[in-house]
């Protein structure tokens, strides 16, 4: 009798194991605080959804695309994975992502639960493919001690572009030979500088970076002066240059740059420095126009997930992008919530506030080849300050190269 009971127990456990649980796999790159938080979220999710089991797999950021490339065709890839929004076109055209089902993620749902730039950023050919938990934006960091040193009010950062230039000039120090030994403003197009040029300066000068269908480069035609406005800071005002003290982050953290434009992901870096007395504020406006660049990592469902797994993946996606998850994400990872309702509570936060305000008027560039398109603007800046090319010509050349990258992408897709 005892033996029969035991046998029954064993069978029922095995049976439950086979019939009951749907197991889905979630992939993201390794970033300690994110990994810890997702583990926590999965535990919570599994409690709320008995019968669904989520396996959490992480790997180094450097191998992300290679790893996915070999796993998904072999059928051992994830059901849900995290990817940079700029890679969505590539993943979709390679046949890896399934569109977000309209029934669960209607446009009303997306519009009410996420910032406006998100719904544009997750689209490919008008169809949404992924959803973020957190987003990033740009802001202006300033060093309060260096401000005080030159007699500027350490609590009053510049609010307009003209003011920023004026401050930067005051804050730049030179040696007897005219070499910069303290930069007023970091000028690093390879950092966030190219985003600032493309999505902020272009719009502030009355232009549009790309056409509405994202297939035509417009910045050189609609705002030809943009690059000049940027490179004048290097060649005319001489407040900084690319590579000063190696890079913008190093220069600012070693107290050798008074102002820098960087992303919300940098908060963690600066926060831990006790000798750096910094503040952060919204990007300066120009011609009365405010603009910002936002970007994000998003979670998408892959073609691996079908049937029960697809249903489970949808539930999981909803859960990790929920208000609850976003709040924890902000607290534990320090990234900005993608939902304006969650963000609202932090508007007056001295560190998150300036970024969150920026999100309201932010744009996410539609990249078809993120590194290639960044290189184009890095090269344009180099052409002006190293080779002495006319900035208007350099921007025109950049636009032509950018267009070639975009055309090449679409010629492959169609």
């Amino acid at each position: 009798m005892k033996r029969a009971l035991l046998l029954l127990l064993v069978f029922s456990v095995i049976f439950a194991g086979i019939a009951g649980a749907v197991k889905i796999t979630y992939w993201q790159y390794y970033f300690e605080t994110k990994v810890k938080l997702v583990d926590l979220l999965i535990e919570e999710f599994e409690k709320q959804n008995p019968g669904i089991e989520v396996e959490h797999v992480t790997f180094p950021y450097e191998n992300f695309n290679e790893k996915v490339a070999v796993s998904v065709p072999a059928g051992v890839g994830p059901d849900v994975l995290t990817l940079f929004y700029g890679w969505i076109p590539l993943y979709v055209t390679s046949g890896y992502l399934v569109p977000l089902p309209e029934a669960e993620f209607s446009s009303e749902y997306l519009n009410s639960e996420f910032f406006p730039f998100v719904s544009k950023g997750i689209e490919f050919n008008g169809v949404p493919y992924a959803l973020p938990t957190a987003v990033r934006a740009l802001a202006l960091f300033w060093n309060k001690d260096l401000f005080a040193e030159v007699g500027l009010d350490p609590e009053t950062p510049p609010t307009t572009f003209a003011e920023m230039v004026e401050f930067a000039k005051k804050l730049t120090k030179y040696d007897t030979k005219g070499n910069i030994i303290q930069a007023g403003l970091t000028m690093q197009p390879s950092g966030q500088g190219h985003q600032w040029i493309r999505e902020v300066l272009v719009r502030q000068l009355g232009g549009t970076p790309y056409s509405a269908d994202t297939r035509t480069v417009l910045y050189a035609a609609t705002a030809p002066e943009t690059l000049k406005v940027y490179t004048d800071l290097i060649t005319k005002d001489k407040v900084g240059y690319p590579g000063f003290l190696n890079d913008d982050v190093t220069a600012f953290r070693s107290l050798k740059a008074a102002m820098t434009i960087d992303g919300s992901f940098r908060l963690g870096t600066f926060r831990s420095l006790t000798n750096l007395n910094w503040g952060v504020t919204e990007l300066p406006s120009m011609n009365g126009v405010k603009s910002n660049f936002a970007s994000f990592w998003a979670h998408g469902i892959t073609t691996n997930a079908t049937g029960d797994k697809l249903d489970a993946s949808i539930k999981f996606l909803k859960f990790i992008t929920s208000e609850y998850a976003q709040k924890l994400w902000l607290e534990q990872v320090g990234e900005l919530p993608a939902n304006p309702k969650v963000a609202a509570a932090y508007y007056d936060h001295p560190e998150y506030g300036p970024f969150l305000k920026g999100l309201e008027y932010a744009h996410a560039t539609f990249f078809v080849n993120e590194s290639g398109q960044r290189q184009v603007l890095m090269d344009a800046v180099d052409k002006v300050w190293i080779q002495g090319m006319d900035p208007i010509k350099a921007l025109k050349e950049a636009a032509a190269e950018d267009q070639a990258i975009i055309d090449e992408f679409w010629s492959r897709v169609e």
């Binding site: 590539l90 030979k177 910069i180 590579g243 080849n369 590194s371 890095m378 190293i386």
Partner: protein
């Protein structure tokens, strides 16, 4: 089976293990990348269509590819004479040193055994503009103007060559020192008795006898310079091979095409071209330099 036959079989069984390993991890991927060079494979896409010579045509129309091909040739032509002449000079000098020779040897070999990424970053900082770069601070201490080095179109490639030469010197010196020990002292002494100057005996005896070593070093160093990557990747902004592609070698071009633009087909084609370049240069060097010297 006879004992001798058994022995042969055993030998082949043992040989088979490295052979299979070599075929699987070397030859197969090599042949496969030859095949890939004729496809339009994008890294994350399952599609691999045959496109003939399209990739090669595309490469030779790409200005950046031509620049990086040209840069690669520059690395070799600047780097090889420098590293060979300097290491030969230092090795012959070191060979005369009687005291603390081990110490000097260690000193020169140090850069070679240091991880290249670390070396590259140290040099990246040495080359910084003021106020950070040591080299520029030195120049300015002597009243000279600061130089842009890595942020200049003309100076960046030579600056990276200097770093690479500095790294490879140690290895070349050790090999030359070993070679110098094999030069029979009787020849030198005989020449001395016949009235040869030390210069004559160096150029007429030592150098010709060192020829096999020189050939070995020229060939292996050329391959090293043709495959230069780590230094450039770590010493330029965002590993871009900049400014404006002025330092970008072929391998970096291949890397960017493969893992940044995910264009595996094109990257494979560039790899095939690099392979042929290395093969060609090596064969020419072996033909021209390899002369048997006998006295």
């Amino acid at each position: 089976m006879k004992i001798s036959q058994k022995r042969i079989v055993t030998a082949y069984v043992f040989l088979a293990i490295p052979l299979i390993f070599y075929i699987v991890v070397r030859f197969y991927p090599m042949l496969y990348s030859f095949w890939l060079s004729f496809t339009n494979w994008k890294l994350i896409s399952p599609k691999k269509d045959f496109v003939g010579f399209d990739n090669f045509v595309k490469l030779f129309k790409d200005r950046v590819f031509i620049t990086s091909l040209w840069n690669t040739i520059k690395y070799v032509t600047f780097g090889i004479p420098l590293v060979i002449v300097l290491s030969l000079f230092l090795a012959t000098t070191l060979n005369k040193v009687r005291h603390l020779q081990w110490f000097y040897r260690l000193l020169y070999v140090m850069p070679y055994i240091t991880p290249l990424v670390a070396v590259s970053w140290v040099w990246r900082w040495i080359y910084q503009r003021p106020p950070a770069g040591i080299l520029n601070n030195l120049l300015m201490a002597f009243g000279l103007d600061a130089q842009p080095f890595l942020t200049s179109m003309n100076q960046s490639l030579p600056a990276i060559v200097v770093t690479t030469v500095w790294v490879n010197l140690g290895y070349c010196i050790i090999i030359y020192l070993a070679g110098l020990q094999t030069v029979p002292q009787e020849y030198i002494e005989a020449a001395k008795i016949d009235g040869a100057t030390s210069r004559q005996s160096f150029f007429r005896i030592t150098l010709p006898l060192l020829n096999p070593i020189t050939v070995f070093l020229v060939v292996t160093q050329s391959i090293t310079f043709l495959r230069i990557f780590t230094q450039v990747y770590n010493m330029t902004d965002q590993g871009s091979g900049g400014p404006l592609n002025s330092t970008k070698p072929l391998v970096l071009y291949i890397y960017q095409k493969a893992f940044r633009s995910f264009d595996m087909g094109l990257a494979s084609s560039a790899t095939v071209i690099l392979f042929m370049l290395i093969m060609g240069i090596t064969l020419v060097q072996l033909l021209v330099l390899n002369k048997r010297v006998q006295y």
